[in-house]
């Protein structure tokens, strides 16, 4: 479904990604783990076109993405939940969700998706008229995921959904991630520092270090890998 071929991404003169390739098939949950500053966020930004890569190719359903603008990429069915949630604090929950469906005009279907989302996250239904900034961290993360789902993506890019949240809430969010994948067949690309949790929900995983991919394997194998254990699982 998504093919990333040897991309290199820069911030000005600083090279953040030094030639990485990865592949995601339809229906999978793939995770990308790595330490802080490894280039995980930049990888997602490259895919969503917000920080387009300087070299290399990205193909989504066979279509090249690197010439497209971020809004065209969203229209193709790739939605990103940015790092740190980035919900709109002054807009209400409903308005935030509406922003997620910005490119859609099918009112009936949007309504259906809204119901589905309120089903997934009942707390958001309760808080629908509250401004986003007044939600707790966990609720904001749920809103960020829900907002991305409102675009009805085929590929959902999640950037560290566990960041700064209590373990119980993280567990809840990961459960929902798995549910989204199973119920909607939404393909999920999950970026995480919390390698343990990420590898438990993902089918396969990539390990990133200093802008390069150093390992890629099935989740079971990565969980059993000695290097991964030492570096990311703290065992």
């Amino acid at each position: 479904m998504l093919e990333v071929k040897n991309i290199q991404t820069y911030y000005g003169n600083i090279q953040a990604i030094k030639g990485i390739s990865l592949e995601i098939s339809e229906g999978e949950i793939i995770t990308l783990i790595g330490a802080n500053g490894a280039g995980k966020t930049t990888t997602l930004m490259s895919i969503s076109g917000i920080v387009p890569p300087k070299f290399g190719d990205i193909l989504f359903m066979g279509e090249p993405l690197q010439e497209l603008s971020p809004n065209q990429i969203v229209a193709l069915g790739i939605s990103q939940v940015p790092e740190g949630r980035r919900i709109f604090p002054y807009l209400t929950v409903m308005e935030n969700l509406d922003m997620g469906a910005f490119l859609r005009n099918d009112t009936d279907e949007i309504q259906k998706d809204l119901e589905y989302i309120f089903d997934l996250f009942p707390i958001l239904a309760e808080r629908r008229h509250q401004s986003g900034g007044t939600l707790s961290g966990g609720e904001q993360q749920m809103l960020a995921v829900a907002r991305a789902l409102m675009a009805r993506p085929r590929l959902l890019l999640l950037d560290e959904p566990s960041l700064g949240l209590a373990p119980l809430i993280v567990k809840q969010i990961f459960k929902i991630i798995r549910k989204i994948n199973q119920e909607n067949k939404t393909t999920i690309f999950l970026v995480e520092q919390n390698a343990n949790l990420a590898l438990q929900v993902a089918h396969r995983g990539y390990v990133m270090e200093n802008g390069r991919i150093t390992l890629s394997d099935t989740s079971q194998n990565l969980l059993a890998n000695e290097d991964v254990k030492k570096a990311y699982l703290g065992i």
Binding site: S48, G49, I50, S69, P70, N71, I73, V74, A75, S79, Q80, V81, P82, R86, I87, F88, P89, Y90, L91, E95, D98, M99, G100, F102, L103, R127, Q130, S131, G133, T134, S136, G137, G138, E139, R147, A148, A151, L165, A166, L168, I169
Partner: protein
């Protein structure tokens, strides 16, 4: 309140102000007798005055902060919003206001009506800038350029082709819109301070072109004899004409308020607000950053163009001196002082900022001083503007009933 540290603070403020105002308050050079007068007693007056005023200042500031905390705890809306929500108050007030607006030109003199019309032009233009600055968060310091485009469109079209006010109005608005697109396209890649500086530059460029391109714009001498708006081909006397322009502006202000309100609640309006809050998140939602910004910039410019056409028709004479950076700043002050993003706030801001200097004419040379002091005081005591946008005053309610760990 009379602790030593407070007294020391006030003492220092007094000393500083005495030093600061020394050249203008104390020294007077008598150019005829070539002597210098030293008015020392004035320095002490400044010192004593500053000492007590700084006490008062800090006292009010503390009181304001305490008041804010209380309001936050009680979860009450700001006074203005509460008054609007209260039907018992708002309906009679609206009727009263309507009667006042209609009766205004018949009660007050032509001079007063004229000032009010000017204020109304600023309401329209301010609401336009409010789209750019208040909603989309783009700091535009060259807004007056579009005002000039509108005014010169009418003046020149009339001069060369004899076009009337009503024909020029949509053309002026369109030109301003096109200028907004043309200028906006290159500059909207920039953010914050950079955008402000570049728009400031563009504003000055337009003014300099008008000033120096004599063949096109008649240079600094400007264009005179611009006809006032026509009323179905009737000849109006001066006072009739002033009354007519006044009602025209009332109508236009209402139209602007209506359109801006609609825009604000539209999907585009929400995209502007979202873009102001978080550009990356907007891009992740599939909002076209450039197009959305450009639409705010150009739509804002359109209102400036409309205001400009009316301005030219009202004053019947324009020259580049009417479109200086000072004008941009006044309009920006209207938006910021009134309350960014709030329609009602901008209306109040325009009325205060345009009417205040007019009625302060009695104080002649101290006019600008009082004006400046009012601005500073306002921003200290009401940083969100006279009427704060409700959106920006969200309250942290409903947080108590959740686990603090989340």
């Amino acid at each position: 309140m009379f602790r030593f540290s407070e007294i020391k603070k006030s003492f220092l403020v007094a000393l500083w102000l005495m030093f600061l105002t020394f050249p203008i308050m104390v020294i007077r050079v008598n150019t005829i007798y070539k002597t210098i007068e030293w008015r020392w007693e004035r320095m002490f007056m400044v010192g004593i005055g500053a000492f007590f005023l700084s006490f008062l200042w800090r006292y009010l500031h503390k009181k304001k902060e305490a008041g804010e905390k209380k309001a936050e705890e009680a979860g009450t809306l700001p006074l203005a919003q509460r008054l609007i929500k209260n039907r018992q108050f708002s309906i009679p007030a609206a009727i009263g206001l309507g009667i006042f607006i209609i009766a205004f030109p018949f009660i007050f003199s032509m001079y007063q009506t004229n000032i009010m019309t000017t204020a109304l032009i600023y309401v329209v233009v301010g609401l336009g800038l409010n789209i750019v600055v208040g909603l989309a968060g783009l700091l535009d310091l060259g807004y007056v350029a579009f005002y000039a485009v509108g005014a010169y469109s009418y003046a020149l079209l009339n001069h060369h082709f004899g076009l009337g006010f009503w024909a020029a109005l949509p053309i002026g608005a369109t030109f301003a819109f096109l200028f907004g697109v043309i200028l906006g396209f290159p500059v909207l890649r920039l953010r914050g301070d950079y955008l402000a500086i570049v728009t400031l530059g563009f504003g000055e460029i337009i003014r300099l072109i008008l000033e120096n391109w004599n063949a096109f714009s008649f240079g600094p001498s400007g264009i005179a004899n611009i006809p006032r708006p026509g009323f179905f081909g009737m000849d109006l006397s001066l006072s009739q004409s002033i009354t007519y322009v006044y009602f025209l502006m009332i109508g236009m202000a209402i139209f602007t308020i209506f359109v801006v309100k609609r825009l604000q609640d539209s999907r585009l309006g929400r995209a502007w607000i979202a873009l102001r809050e978080d550009e990356v998140a907007c891009q992740a939602m599939g909002i076209d950053k450039t197009r959305t910004k450009l639409s705010a910039f150009a739509l804002g410019a359109t209102w400036a163009g409309i205001g400009g056409v009316v301005f030219a028709a009202k004053t019947t004479f324009i020259n580049p001196a009417s479109f200086t950076i000072w004008e941009s700043i006044i309009i920006l002050c209207i938006v910021v002082l009134g309350g960014m993003g709030s329609v009602l706030g901008v209306i109040f801001g325009a009325l205060v900022l345009i009417l205040l200097p007019e009625y302060l004419r009695a104080f002649s040379e101290y006019r600008m001083l009082i004006f400046g002091a009012t601005l500073v005081t306002m921003m200290v005591f009401r940083p969100g503007g006279i009427i704060t946008d409700v959106r920006k005053t969200y309250k942290f309610k409903g947080l108590k009933d959740k686990q603090p760990t989340v």
